[in-house]
């Protein structure tokens, strides 16, 4: 089809526009950095911008709010691309110094540079920070580099080029083949080949078809989809439009969690801007391809991340899963053929079309292609959002990118894939992170949440935490899931409270099997995973709780006992005065005693003791 715009020409114009911005100050404006004061920093830079007459090399300064860099731990991040410098942990008070010292007089502000935890050296450039250096970014390629709320900045870095190519070529089958050949699999959890999904839906071409984007990122501890929606919304829209073209859809929905207000705001603006320039909506770029996108806000239900439940929710119903088949590709939203893809999956699509299937397939492993984002959180030095080729090992992620375990503690386990995933231990550190290897180890890539736990984390308590989550979020449709998770939770609660029974381990395993077998959707089928994988790798810890009534990590309050070491206690009475329940007694200058019957294990005495005489065991 002929287009009425020349996207290359638009790109050139957009790049020119950026050049005309003069000196660019990039301020990260993701949810994390905004919480740390990014908006105040932008305002301050803009005020100073009025003084740009004093700049020698530029006649203008432009402050650009960008999307999430992923290095939230170090926020607020300020990048000066012209000076090849990244500043971390910037506060509004530092802005003037950056402006006066570095921007005006060329002298970097050393104290605001990133300090490498291993070498202790200051690092100037983003590319030299280990956290970034070891990453390969595809879905997140523009995050942090462009103004997240500006269409022309997206165009300048190649936005909508792939869509123009696809419409011009006018061959939906070619698009499907490209995606099939690239080996792209769903990034939302299940890992189903994206091209295949499209192929099934395209077979029903002719009538009304829907293209749905799943932005209901429910896994606690995962925030890659939020970052894409907030940081590069046009890429997602372009990916959706390409998918819609391939399957013959003219209408689409983005289902976004209500917990992501900023993502919703930026997506709304992006849709309006794209429609105005005819990159979305009716007769896109002058062709006869039409694709209209709506936003549906979720209302707080984890199960809506399941595709059939998500469709029920878009239709205005309770988000309860429906049996498959019929699969959405045949009978989906409002009874019509529908393709549902996750945000990250769709963000990969324009890049694949632009750079080719071969390029994408050259990254990753034999069976898992491309790159994957992981949300690295928990007890690791550098928490944040990362993107690496499939097959990167856990060790590389935790130690090279994550900078190792916080506070020099010992690595214990990592929970991967959220409440549906499993845990990996030290023996898995060199396991390649791809769909197949993880599945073999009893875990899953899932959405890519990676929560690192150290020796101070109680694994049984973590299993209880996940079970509490899935039990809360079970929609109640299937009895095994509704009742099974409840009973599993009850047992886990009993174990962490110190009342576990020896037969509990067998019962947990039996219940897990019933819940897995008897549930309709993935929520139920995977709900027992955290329990099963922790039982597999940390059975001793369960036994310690049940039989010895001890929590090896010292977390479970019920199993703690506080004791005053007689030889260390000076009898200062501080602990006795601090204890809220009067469980400590003794005379002045004599060793004190704790009445374990009365003690509520709050730990106040331990904090109050100036001689560190109180121990918790």
């Amino acid at each position: 089809m002929t287009l009425n715009i020349d996207i290359k020409e638009e790109q050139r114009k957009a790049q020119e526009e950026i050049k005309n911005q003069g000196f660019r100050v990039l301020v990260c404006s993701g949810t994390g950095c905004i919480a740390n004061g990014a908006l105040e920093i932008i305002k301050k830079f803009e005020e100073l911008g009025a003084k740009v007459g004093e700049l020698t090399n530029h006649d203008k300064m432009t402050v650009v709010p960008t999307g999430c860099h992923g290095f939230c731990e170090q926020g607020v991040l300020v990048v000066l691309p012209d000076l090849h410098t990244t500043y971390v942990k910037v506060h509004v008070e530092d802005v003037e110094e950056i402006f006066e010292s570095h921007i005006k007089n060329g002298k970097p502000v050393e104290r605001l540079l990133y300090v490498d935890p291993q070498t202790g050296e200051h690092v100037h450039k983003n590319e030299d920070i280990n956290f970034y250096k070891k990453q390969t970014r595809t879905a997140l390629e523009n995050n942090g580099h462009i103004n997240a709320e500006c269409l022309s900045e997206a165009i300048a870095v190649g936005g909508y080029e792939a869509l123009a190519k696809v419409i011009e070529k006018n061959d939906p089958q070619w698009v499907i083949d490209e995606i099939l050949n690239s080996g792209l699999k769903g990034r939302g959890g299940a890992g189903f080949p994206t091209g295949l999904k499209w192929k099934f839906a395209a077979a029903n071409r002719g009538g009304k078809t829907y293209m749905v984007c799943n932005g209901d990122e429910g896994d606690p501890g995962a925030f890659m989809d939020r970052s894409v929606m907030e940081g590069d919304p046009h890429k997602l829209l372009e990916g959706m439009a390409i998918a819609a073209f391939a399957i013959g859809a003219d209408e689409g929905y983005i289902y976004v969690r209500a917990e992501y207000p900023l993502a919703i705001k930026r997506l709304r603006k992006a849709i309006a801007d794209a429609e105005e320039r005819h990159f979305l909506g009716e007769n896109i770029m002058g062709s006869d391809f039409t694709f209209v996108v709506h936003i549906k806000e979720g209302a707080g239900a984890f199960v809506c991340g399941e595709e059939t439940a998500l469709m029920a929710s878009i239709e205005g119903e309770r988000g309860m899963p429906r049996p498959k088949p019929p699969f959405p590709a045949n009978k989906g939203l409002f009874g019509r053929p529908t393709v549902i893809n996750n945000v990250e999956t769709l963000a990969n699509v324009p890049v694949i079309i632009r750079k080719g299937a071969e390029w994408f397939a050259s990254m990753g492993t034999e069976t898992s292609k491309g790159t994957k984002t992981f949300a690295l959180t928990g007890e690791v030095n550098n928490t944040g959002l990362i993107e690496v080729p499939m097959g990167t090992t856990l060790r590389q992620i935790i130690y090279d990118i994550g900078g190792g375990i916080r506070g020099g503690k010992k690595f214990k386990a990592v929970q991967i894939g959220g409440p549906s995933g499993g845990c990996l231990t030290e023996e898995h550190l060199d396991l390649p992170m791809d769909y197949e290897s993880l599945q073999k180890a009893g875990a899953m890539v899932g959405s890519g949440g990676l929560v690192v736990m150290n020796e101070d984390t109680c694994i049984v308590e973590v299993a209880r935490f996940f079970m509490n989550f899935t039990q809360n979020e079970s929609c109640g449709k299937c009895v095994p899931c509704r009742e099974g998770t409840k009973n599993m939770l009850k047992i886990l609660e009993r174990i962490v409270a110190g009342n576990g029974k020896p037969e509990d381990i067998d019962t947990l395993q039996e219940l897990a099997k019933a819940v897995q077998d008897g549930s309709l959707c993935a929520l139920g089928k995977t709900a027992p995973n955290p329990v099963l994988s922790t039982l597999k790798y940390f059975l001793d810890e369960y036994k310690a709780h049940i039989i010895d009534k001890k929590c090896p990590a010292g977390v479970c309050a019920a199993m703690k006992t506080y004791r005053i070491q007689e030889d260390v206690c000076k009898g200062c009475t501080k602990c006795a005065r601090t204890c809220p329940v009067g469980a400590i007694s003794g005379t002045v200058k004599e060793p004190h005693k704790i009445d374990t019957e009365k003690c509520i294990k709050c730990g106040s005495c331990m904090g109050a003791c100036p001689f560190k005489a109180i121990v918790c065991e």
Binding site: T31, G32, I34, A35, N36, F71, C72, E73, G75, E217, G218, D219, P220, G221, A222, F223, R226, A258, E259, Y260, P261, K296, E297, G298, A299, G300, A301, F302, S313, I314, E315, G316, E317, R318, G319, F334, A375, T377, G378, E379, T383, G384, L385, Q415, G418, G449, V451, M453, T457, V462, F465, F466, F469, E473, C475
Partner: protein, 164 residues
């Protein structure tokens, strides 16, 4: 003045009109109603059930109770969202939760203060895991919370309200 007296059905009609009385917009309609009243009054839910095509009051009630975002009781002026996602949990959201409850006299069953100033809701993940543990009070994000820090944050709000 009680809350029920403040409900003006004309406002609800306006919302219904915007969303074309469509069943597929039911969740959006309820979200707008909650935005207006801070909760979903029973009277309004029943009314919506009679107006939206293909929906009964029972369906409206079913949807309203299914999703965590909806509240059937009036919410406080300040909504505290305490994140207990995995990252926040591992980094100590529980002591923060206990501190908030203790400070405001709330319990798992009593989620709004008597003076109607604060409501406390535990949410599963706000996507700000790099800043764990996180608390959000009326859209403002408080990063890296501790029991002490959250008490200070609450005190600031309480003092502002008192005009101190």
């Amino acid at each position: 003045m009680t809350v029920t007296e403040q409900i003006n059905i004309a406002d609800v009609d306006k919302i219904l009109e915007t969303y074309e009385y469509k069943k597929s917009n039911l969740i959006a309609i309820l979200q707008k109603v909650q935005e207006k009243y801070s909760y979903l009054p029973e009277k309004v839910m029943t009314y919506i059930g009679t107006k939206v095509k293909g929906v009964s009051p029972a369906t409206v009630f079913g949807v309203a109770t299914f999703y965590a975002q909806f509240s059937l009781d009036p919410q406080g002026k300040y909504e505290i969202k305490l994140c207990d996602g995995t990252a926040c949990h591992v980094r100590g959201s529980m002591p923060v939760l206990n501190a908030v409850r203790k400070k405001l006299g709330l319990t798992p069953d009593k989620r709004t203060t008597d003076d109607g100033m604060f409501s406390l809701n535990i949410v599963s993940c706000l996507g700000a895991c790099g800043l764990a543990p996180v608390v959000v009070i009326n859209e403002k994000v408080y990063p890296k919370m501790t029991a002490d820090a959250v008490k200070i944050a609450l005190d600031t709000i309480i003092n502002e309200e008192k005009g101190v």
